[in-house]
């Protein structure tokens, strides 16, 4: 008998992977959560049928969403992470001794519980004493904060489910308010390639631009995600992601990574022409 799991990338494109066995499946208050063991990608986390992370390529996503801002902002002490129930982003952040506090706000506690039990590769640092987990509506959590964080990372699913509110202008505005005067906001920014998603990319970028004085996007390659071409948003009140990159200082930290390095850091901000056009960045990189 063969078992296959299919992730629908668009209405007309899908990625199918062979499954060794289903490790766990629960129906939470918000969504159906599955963890499968696959032949090619190892363990994969699936929410409402959609692939979230795979054991094989999650490092790319989690390294790029954390080390880029960490190499720019010179003194990150207090971090707010939105979503990130699998713990991967937290794992990367805990590599920095300078960070004193990490607030993680995940709406669905069941995701974290499942990952703690079955996905220790990503959830291994959730027990770090600096990590404070809050299981509640993150748009509400962010709204209550003012001038508290150096860095906010929005590590969420696509905007067609519980994460819908995390792609809105009011949410980005709440993040702006929650950040210090030199704060940085990083957000999961979807893929620009398929037209089904490119409107989301465009709209999210427009909303962020209206809120933050400086904003751009950077890219990486994640094989299991739709089109493989993925974007993150970099929005800041003060720092430029290339001019303010502390290359030597970051390399001196000796943090072990598999994807991120400071050369790639710079390169990731140089975007294909069609992406620049999609985001209205014709000519040189806008703003920063």
């Amino acid at each position: 008998m063969e078992l296959w799991y299919t992730d629908k990338h668009t209405q007309n494109v899908q990625l199918t992977m062979k499954v060794k066995n289903q490790i766990a499946s629960v129906e939470s208050e918000y969504q159906r959560i599955d963890i499968l063991d696959t032949v090619e990608f190892g363990k994969v986390l699936v929410l409402d049928g959609e692939l979230m992370i795979t054991q094989k390529d999650e490092f790319i996503y989690h390294e790029m969403i954390t080390h880029v801002p960490m190499a720019v902002h010179p003194h990150v002490e207090n971090v707010l992470v939105i979503g990130a129930g699998d713990g991967g982003t937290i794992r990367e952040l805990t590599k920095y001794d300078t960070i004193k506090n990490i607030d993680m706000v995940e709406i669905d506690k069941s995701v974290t519980d499942m990952c703690l039990q079955y996905f220790e590769e990503t959830s291994c640092k959730l027990s770090d004493s600096r990590v404070h987990m809050h299981f509640e509506e993150s748009i509400r959590f962010a709204r209550m904060k003012k001038d508290e964080y150096d860095l906010i990372i929005v590590d969420c699913a696509d905007p067609y489910g519980p994460a819908e509110g995390l792609f809105t202008r009011e949410f980005y505005g709440n993040c702006f308010k929650a950040l210090h005067e030199d704060g940085i906001l990083i957000n999961q920014h979807e893929s620009p390639y398929y037209s089904e998603h490119s409107r989301t990319v465009q709209k999210a970028h427009k909303h962020i631009q209206q809120v933050f004085p400086y904003s751009t996007v950077y890219q990486c390659h994640i094989p299991s995600y739709p089109s493989g071409h993925w974007l993150f948003g970099f929005a800041s009140k003060k720092y430029d992601p290339i001019r303010d990159l502390h290359e030597e200082a970051w390399n001196r930290l000796g943090i072990k990574t598999k994807y991120y390095n400071t050369d790639l850091h710079k390169g990731s901000f140089y975007l294909p022409t069609y992406v620049k056009e999609l985001l209205g960045m014709t000519g040189e990189i806008k703003n920063i």
Binding site: R143, R169, N174
Partner: protein
């Protein structure tokens, strides 16, 4: 086999009959001419094949709205039962038609009807059509919020005393802002004086399905009520229900409704009333408590933001605010220096949030059984952002929504009289012969037969400047106004 099985609130007779006809796959040589969408493919694609196929005309198995004898009759009977009324009439011309049927069924030309001035335009429209005369009771006004409230029992008593010949009293239950008069007391006084009580419950459908909300018209003993099922009851836009008790002649009311209602009642609307009635009957209690929970939470959070005032039960004073509909989320915005209409526009243009209305000093968000936590949080966050980015001094802002009018002529006489067109700013002292209102909420600033004053002109200009959609005049640009030509 039992021939006459008793129907229950789980049944949906119109819905069932319609479904049966769809499965029968009739060859249609009747209207509508799109014939299940085959004659209009773009419409079929847009609305969906199932929806277009259900757009059928009256036929024997589907009954007839003008003369219900089978499935519509049964559905109306179930609705009457659900709302605690003796009769229910399905209306497909909007609650406007239900309000007008109430007034036209109880008054004729020259008859008096007592009503608060902050009625919906549909009530005064009925007076224009049938020539009855309004006796206005000025609503109370909350000075801080500037909004019109309910009628005080004492003022209603005076109106009854001074107009013993009045045929009926019309009451809003609640107003757009969620404010209720002492309906039970008004019903008792009116009935003692031999007057009927008509209730505009356009914003009170949910009252019938909760023990913790203000009293409903039928429960309070009123004779008729117009219930906007489509507003908070979950049916399709334009569908509504007129409820009556056996103190009025139901067959005469049906005739009155048929004077103006279409003879081609839409089965999409009718079946939506049927299904919505079942849904509210079975789940209304749950929805109502969810609505109260959402609205109370939002009020609390919005008030924490500072500047805004989301008002609630604390307004209750036992008189002009006898009760408050806690499912309404009304927010006073003037203290952050923004007109309600400005916040309304910002919410839509900058944040993609559409609310019910914004007026001079307030916004109103409708909460219903269809709401989710996510949208409530978005609304609160957007209000927080609007305050952070746009708060300003409130000097020079208009501070009230309502000006007591001076009535000099009956609405019908003024509307149909010989008229002069004047620039609005030069019209002070004239008798208005048309309506002027912001829409929504559709409560007239000026109605036919009312004196135009400088204060009213200032109000209209301010509303226009702030971006309110001012309507009602013949002049589509609302720069000129028709006044009664008193020289004629």
């Amino acid at each position: 086999m039992e021939s006459n099985t008793r129907l229950t609130q789980n049944d949906t007779p119109i819905h069932r009959a319609l479904e049966e006809q769809r499965l029968n796959r009739l060859a249609h040589f009747d209207v509508p001419g799109h014939k299940g969408g085959r004659g209009n493919k773009e419409l079929k694609e847009f609305l969906g094949a199932d929806c277009v196929k259900l757009d059928m005309n009256s036929m024997k198995p589907l009954d007839n709205l003008c003369h219900p004898v089978s499935v519509i009759k049964d559905a109306q009977m179930l609705a009457a039962e659900a709302f605690g009324a003796d009769e229910a009439f399905f209306i497909v011309n909007g609650t406007t038609a239900a309000v007008q049927a109430m007034i036209m069924a109880t008054t004729v030309a020259g008859d008096k009807i007592i009503m608060p001035r902050n009625v919906h335009r549909s009530a005064i429209n009925a007076l224009v059509v049938n020539g009855a005369l309004p006796v206005y009771v000025n609503p109370g006004v909350n000075q801080r919020l500037g909004i019109p409230l309910g009628m005080s029992v004492k003022d209603v008593e005076t109106a009854i005393h001074e107009n013993p010949d009045a045929k009926a009293i019309l009451v809003n239950n609640p107003t757009y802002y969620g404010i209720c008069s002492d309906l039970k007391q008004i019903v008792d006084m009116a009935h003692d004086a031999g007057m009927l009580v008509l209730v505009d419950e356009a914003h009170g459908t949910h009252f019938y399905f909760s023990d913790t909300l203000p009293v409903s018209a039928m429960k309070a003993g009123a004779d008729m009520s117009a219930v906007s099922m489509h507003k908070t009851g979950g049916s399709l836009t334009q569908s509504s229900i007129l409820l009556t008790r056996n103190t009025v002649n139901a067959d005469y009311i049906r005739q009155i409704i048929n004077l103006t209602q279409t003879t081609s009642g839409s089965y999409l609307l009718l079946s939506s009333l049927d299904i919505a009635r079942k849904n509210m009957s079975l789940n209304g209690k749950f929805y109502s408590s969810k609505m109260i929970e959402f609205a109370s939470y939002a009020r609390e959070e919005i008030n924490k933001l500072g500047g805004y005032y989301a008002f609630g039960e604390e307004l209750i004073d036992g008189d002009t605010v006898f009760d408050f509909d806690r499912t309404k989320l009304s927010v006073h915005t003037r203290d952050i220096g923004l007109a309600g209409i400005e916040v309304y526009d910002l919410l839509r243009d900058d944040y993609g949030i559409q609310i019910e209305f914004g007026d001079i000093g307030n916004i109103l968000a409708i909460i219903s059984g269809g709401d989710r936590n996510l949208e409530i949080e978005r609304l609160i966050s957007a209000l927080s952002e609007i305050k952070r980015l746009h708060e300003r001094e409130k000097s020079g802002m208009f501070d009230h929504e309502y000006i007591n009018p001076k009535i000099v002529m009956g609405p019908q006489k003024a509307f149909f009289s010989k008229k002069l067109s004047l620039a609005i700013e030069e019209s002070a002292g004239g008798i208005c012969s048309e309506f002027v209102m912001c829409y929504p909420p559709g409560i007239p600033i000026l109605a036919p037969g009312e004196m135009i004053t400088q204060e009213i002109i200032h109000y209209i200009e301010y509303a226009k400047e702030k971006g309110c959609l001012v309507t009602g005049t013949q002049d589509m640009n609302v720069e000129n106004i028709n006044i009664v030509d008193t020289s004629a």
